[in-house]
């Protein structure tokens, strides 16, 4: 079954960098790209249990005459065959519905008209909501195109972490890149994490495929992030905790994206591992 990545194209130099990142991901992993060139300043995504309205930055509507050609040129150079979607359904005449049956979606950290009001170190509320609701992981590229040559998966022993480990293993198989695990254990012994792996039946595969397990029982999480290779794609689960806990203690994913200049692949609490 062909896997697809949804990319909302912005016809600007910054948008080009993001598309290059999507194309690079697709080329390495064998995923097909589906490109949406917005014609309206907003669109709706109806997930299983939520309707997320994305209010786009005005730059997403820039120079529509050249947008498709620019995207095609970039895809051709990358050797990826793009497909362009046009919305078939409209909730209101200026509010198209975008399908959600994709396997990945590329979102810059901020995809909203309020971008000017959100400090650069934060994930925009709409992107956060998409991660929280979607059944697919969100590729969050760095602002400037940067190739990644290894994979790092953040493993904290929870249910979503097991799912993201499976995702990381499938990406490892597709790309052939070295895979690392990063664990900030605090006081939890390593046996606990190994037990989780054994229960999920992943211990054998992990031993075979993981190059190194960065296991930290000391030091601050933020400081330990320095060990992550600068050219790694970081795979992590997000918002698995209660909203209130995130609010009080802060979200791990927010801290990671604020600290690391790497491209991230974030799986939310509703992420479903696609069959095959």
């Amino acid at each position: 079954m062909i896997k697809t990545l949804l990319h909302v194209f912005r016809n600007t130099p910054k948008g080009r960098e993001v598309l290059l990142q999507s194309l690079y991901f697709c080329k390495l992993t064998g995923v097909s790209i589906v490109i949406y060139i917005p014609e309206h300043p907003k669109f709706l995504m109806y997930f299983d249990n939520d309707a997320v309205q994305v209010d786009l930055d005005k730059t997403y509507l820039a120079d529509p005459a050249t947008a498709k050609q620019h995207a095609e040129d970039l895809a051709e150079k990358a050797g990826v065959f793009p497909k362009f979607i046009k919305p078939k359904n409209f909730t209101a005449s200026t509010l198209p519905d975008i399908p959600v049956h994709f396997d990945f979606m590329c979102c810059p950290r901020i995809i909203a008209s309020l971008s000017a009001k959100i400090s650069p170190g934060h994930i925009g509320p709409k992107v956060r909501r998409i991660i929280n609701t979607a059944t697919f992981p969100v590729l969050m590229p760095v602002p400037q195109f940067k190739e990644w040559k290894s994979l790092v998966v953040f493993f904290g022993g929870s249910g979503i972490d097991v799912k993201e480990l499976k995702l990381a293993l499938s990406l490892k198989r597709a790309t052939g890149f070295p895979l690392y695990i990063f664990t900030q254990a605090e006081k939890t012994p390593k046996d606990y994490f190994e037990d989780v792996l054994a229960k999920s039946g992943l211990d054998g595969e992990i031993k075979k495929n993981v190059k190194k397990w960065y296991f930290f029982s000391k030091g601050k999480f933020k400081h330990n992030l320095y060990n992550i290779p600068h050219d790694a794609l970081c795979i992590l689960g997000a918002y698995d905790k209660e909203f209130v806990k995130d609010l009080i203690w802060g979200s791990t994913v927010e801290l990671v994206q604020k600290t690391l200049p790497n491209t991230l692949l974030i799986a939310g609490p509703h992420y479903i591992i696609p069959p095959g």
């Binding site: 079954m1 697809t4 309206h40 359904n89 909730t91 209101a92 209660e242």
Partner: protein, 576 residues
């Protein structure tokens, strides 16, 4: 914290597992109460706004009040709420029909504020559609909060609509019927009970806050056989008025979008024209409930000409208000137009048959309202029960049935679909439960795809191909480019039988020569209804599915119909 999480999944409680109606009734009551609050809130805000503008209505610049109101209303919806304005009720039906009742949180209050600005400033629109939208969004978001499934969410959307209509008119029966007849489009026990509970909750909330009032209480009417006969003529007049309003609303919208000015200026222009018309015909402004009161109580003194002009003017001002960017519904204008049509018809009868003892003009006003509502909404039960409940006139039930039924039938002749549904039908977005379109829309190509086809290469010799045929259980063989994996064509075994049995060709013919290089294909995101139509029209039993120029699998009629049956069972098991 775990306790909180537990309560957000009430559908998993053992108590509700065998029958979730009890759960839906409880949540439905909450939705009904909240919709009732929304409704009363809007009524009070509108009343305050109308009172505050009343002293300025006679001033020369009063036409600017609706202009300002419509402009602010459109700016609020587009710039502050980012709503992408559409007609409220249509959006609710779309949500139920197409996206499992999902609605945005902002819709709980956005239309309430925008319609308050529109109607409070004098725009000709009604507060019912915004309240329906608000109630539906409340139901949808409560369902989302409690992680209910799609069917339960749709029921709660229906509960919200019922609670809203029930509260704004103090008409619980109408709320319930409106929800089933117009919003959900199905009458199943699983919906009726929670919706009835929500409807009662909405009405009781309104009664608690505003008292148990009947919106347009009328006196008893003595109906003669002449009046009964006149019902037929009145049904025709009401039907024509509803056809005119439907077409005018659409026309105005098409005209307004062609005017090359910003949307807020367009709304302001529309509002200013409405304001100017209001100088000549003040009854054409606002929601017009005071005019209905006057007509039902026989205090409307104008003659045939004035009533007919007022009827036409109200149609124009409503179309201008809603078509040019204002926010609101057509319920209230419909009632006003219907009552004007009724009065005009009564005056005409008096003129034509001066010796006949006709019943009071109030009767004709309320029959006109029922005819107009039933015609425009093509929902005779909603029109009928609304008039009965808001006027308390149970003695005119028979006349109301005649007018409602006839008006619906006549309107249907000119406009086959109701005002709310026309856009949805045109876009193929109206998928009523249990219909062929709805069942097919819930099945995706991914679910019916068959991936056990063996791909072959274009330069393969027929001899080698025959060996592959022996191993395969299928009749179709996709041909793919060796380098790129691109789909080049397909071999249908039925079409190449002569070659297969001719052994002389085994070493001379390659696959490329016998393949169909331009077959009809299906794409991943195609609608299954279109695929099935294509298969029917061209007599195909299978078609290849392509994505990104690569072969994915086959979709066959047999698998599709198997899945169709499963889906139909799943969708209709709750219909008792």
């Amino acid at each position: 914290m775990k306790w909180f999480k537990f309560w957000r999944y009430p559908g998993k409680f053992d108590f509700y597992r065998s029958d979730d109606r009890l759960l839906l009734i409880q949540i439905g009551i909450v939705v009904g109460v909240l919709s009732g609050f929304a409704s009363v809130g809007l009524t009070w805000s509108l009343s305050a706004m109308l009172d505050s503008f009343a002293p300025f209505r006679q001033l020369w610049w009063a036409f600017l009040i609706p202009a300002l109101g419509l402009m602010l209303s459109s700016l609020f919806l587009e710039k502050i709420m980012n709503e992408g304005a559409g007609h409220g009720v249509t959006e609710v039906i779309y949500s139920v029909s197409k996206v499992g009742g999902l609605m945005r949180l902002r819709s709980c209050f956005s239309r309430l504020i925008s319609s308050c600005l529109t109607i409070g400033s004098g725009g000709s629109a009604g507060p019912e559609a915004p309240v329906v939208m608000s109630g539906a969004a409340i139901g949808s978001n409560i369902a989302r909060f409690f992680n209910l499934n799609e069917r339960q969410r749709i029921t709660l959307v229906g509960c919200g609509c019922a609670g809203a209509i029930s509260a704004i008119f103090n008409a619980p029966l109408t709320g319930m019927i409106f929800s089933m007849e117009i919003i959900l489009g199905e009458w199943s026990m699983v919906h009726i009970i929670p919706i009835a509970a929500a409807s009662v909750a909405g009405a009781e909330t309104c009664r608690f806050l505003e008292g148990n009032r009947i919106a347009f209480e009328s006196s008893a009417f003595h109906i003669t056989s002449y009046d009964m006969a006149a019902c037929f003529g009145l049904a025709l007049i009401a039907a024509l008025a509803s056809v005119m309003l439907t077409r005018m609303l659409r026309k105005m919208h098409h005209i307004s979008v062609k005017i090359p000015v910003p949307f807020w200026l367009r709304a302001a222009i529309g509002g200013a024209i409405v304001g100017l018309i209001g100088f000549a015909v003040p009854d054409a402004l606002g929601e017009g409930y005071h005019t209905i009161h006057a007509m039902i109580h026989g205090m409307y003194t104008a003659g045939l000409g004035v009533a007919a002009v007022a009827c036409l003017t109200k149609i124009i001002t409503t179309s201008l208000t809603l078509g040019w960017g204002g926010s609101g519904g057509v319920f209230a204008p419909c009632l006003v137009i219907g009552s004007f049509a009724g009065i005009a018809f009564q005056r005409l009868l008096l003129f034509a048959f001066p010796t006949v003892m006709w019943s009071g003009e109030g009767l004709f006003a309320l029959l006109g309202m029922a005819g107009m509502m039933s015609g425009l909404l093509q929902a005779p039960l909603t029109g009928l029960f609304l008039i009965v409940e808001i006027t308390g006139s149970y003695d005119v039930m028979v006349s109301l049935i005649i007018v409602s039924a006839l008006s619906t039938a006549i309107t249907h002749y000119f406009e086959p679909t109701s005002f709310y549904l026309k856009d949805l039908i045109d876009n193929g977005s109206l998928l009523r439960p249990g219909t062929d379109q709805r069942v097919l829309s819930d099945i995706s190509i991914r679910e019916v795809i068959e991936t056990d086809c063996i791909a072959v290469l274009p330069d393969m010799l027929l001899k080698d191909f025959v060996e592959i045929v022996k191993k395969s259980a299928r009749n179709f063989f996709p041909v793919e480019d060796q380098q790129t994996g691109r789909f080049l064509g397909i071999i249908n075994l039925n079409k190449i039988r002569p070659y297969i049995f001719n052994t002389f060709l085994y070493d001379t013919v390659v696959v490329e020569e016998i393949m169909d290089s331009d077959p009809e294909v299906v794409f991943y995101d195609d609608e299954l209804s279109d695929v099935l139509q294509e298969m029917d029209s061209k007599n195909y039993f299978s078609m290849p599915v392509i994505s990104h120029a690569r072969f994915i699998g086959m979709v066959s009629k047999a698998t599709l119909l198997d899945k169709y049956r499963d889906e139909l069972k799943a969708q209709t098991f709750h219909i008792v």
